[in-house]
């Protein structure tokens, strides 16, 4: 029975080749896969959507080159959502490494909006609509300090301006003026934001995290300490879906474009497992 031997003896490199093709093709020919939005992401989207006009959204960018593929699409989707709804944004990072990626995300989205903006009011102006605070070590100092006064902690912003001269900072003094903080990170920062900023100042915390670190965060979603949770590329794709459907913003949906690759990769693995088992059982019955 030659077929059985063939089934059992597929060369490893053929499997690798098929897996590579199945992952690369959908990336080159992007077709954003539509996604059903689940409760954790819907909760986060609503939390951002219902931010009071005179309150701000604070975003903690804490991803590095290794977690960028899963977490950057989340940052871009949230920024597009918030700027479209004219929500004021304060950006910061708890570590030095993510600063470059945070600045890139802010520049990209503000660039997109200002390219289309005609009048002054519908464009996004630094200092008026958003401020990038930068980095203050050690992480506990800003997390606790901003409960009382943000400008005391960040005397200068990322670009070196005096923060108390920026118009937005006159309106946003401390956590009382911040309706929601979203921490986009795969490490401990989300847990610090809850145990310090939420416990002491009642700050609402939303989280975007990588798939690997999701299991540590689900309990916090169940207890209500997190006001929403995006997990891995699938979570990012769900938020992208909402941004496109509700706000009809049509921009590159990097996470949604990666989902087909993810789906086909899983299917390829499952198919090969099944082939291996069929061959194994036929062989066993022959003996």
């Amino acid at each position: 029975m030659k077929i059985v031997d063939l089934m059992l003896k597929i060369d490893r490199r053929i499997i690798y080749l098929i897996l590579a093709i199945v992952v690369i093709l959908p990336l080159i020919i992007p077709s954003a896969q539509h996604v059903r939005v689940m409760a954790p992401v819907q909760k986060l989207y609503t939390a951002v959507d219902t931010i009071h006009p005179d309150k701000a959204l604070m975003i903690d960018f804490d991803y590095d080159p290794q977690t960028q593929p899963e977490l950057e699409p989340m940052a871009l989707a949230i920024l597009r959502h918030a700027f479209k709804k004219k929500i004021k944004i304060l950006g910061l990072s708890l570590y030095v490494q993510p600063l470059g990626l945070a600045k890139a995300a802010l520049d990209q989205v503000t660039g997109e909006i200002n390219a289309l903006a005609k009048t002054n009011s519908d464009s996004v102006i630094y200092g008026r609509d958003y401020v990038f605070l930068g980095w203050q070590p050690p992480p506990i100092v800003p997390i606790l300090g901003m409960g009382e006064s943000i400008t005391n902690v960040y005397k200068k912003d990322f670009y070196g301006n005096q923060t108390d001269t920026l118009p937005l900072m006159k309106q946003i003094k401390n956590y009382n003026n911040v309706e929601l903080l979203i921490s986009i990170s795969s490490g401990d920062p989300p847990l610090w934001w809850v145990s310090y900023a939420q416990n002491r100042f009642g700050l609402r915390v939303g989280v975007g995290c990588t798939a690997v670190s999701a299991s540590d965060y689900y309990p916090y979603l169940q207890t209500g300490q997190f006001s929403g949770l995006m997990v891995g590329m699938k979570g990012a794709a769900e938020y992208e879906e909402l941004v496109e459907k509700d706000l009809n913003i049509h921009k590159r949906r990097k996470a949604s474009e990666a989902l087909p690759s993810l789906t086909y990769a899983h299917l390829v693995m499952i198919v090969f497992i099944i082939i291996g088992n069929i061959g194994y059982f036929i062989k066993r019955r022959q003996k």
Binding site: V23, I28, Q68, E70, T210, A211, V212, Q222, M233, S261
Partner: protein
Amino acid sequence: MNFSLDPWVWISALLSLAIFSFLYKDNPFYKFAEHIFVGAANGYAVTFYWHNILVPSLFDPLFRQGKLLYIISLIIGVLYFTRFIPKISWLVRIPIGITIGYYTGASIPAGIQANIIKQIQGTILTKENFLSWHAGNMGIVWSLILFLGVLCTLSYFYFSREHKGVLKITSRIGIVFIMIGFGAAFGYTVMARVSLLIGRLQFLLGPWLGIIK
């Protein structure tokens, strides 16, 4: 197809391809990248240990601030090198003994708290734990399954009696829970690893080759 002009993007892209070439077979490119990796990794470790540990925690306090207490750390540290001198090579056991002693000691209470007491707390059948599932009265069913699963898995690791009679049944149920857990963990990690592969390919196709914007 506008290629990147940044030399570092080229270096990291080529190194990535060299590692990927291992999928085909062990080849000179892979060996080259492998040895670069080992060399750079140890070079980085030397820098890190020198700038972040040896200078600030030993040489500065000892030589610049003259705190003689740090002589002890220096002497014990140097004892590591006695390993190369046959007659007194037993002295290497002093720094090893100190290191093993301290970390083993510190692991005892931490291990008991995290792996025994906390886990017992999460398994006991109480109203509070029933509610922690936030699944209404299904929570009772989940808590029961969890409770039985833990007891049966424990019985699988019982070494004092042959797995016969009751113990045979409970340990079989135990291994069932273990295997389901391993399967779920395997499935979940597949997604995490494929996401990383997609991330690496997005770097090669995007910033490097400029195929995807």
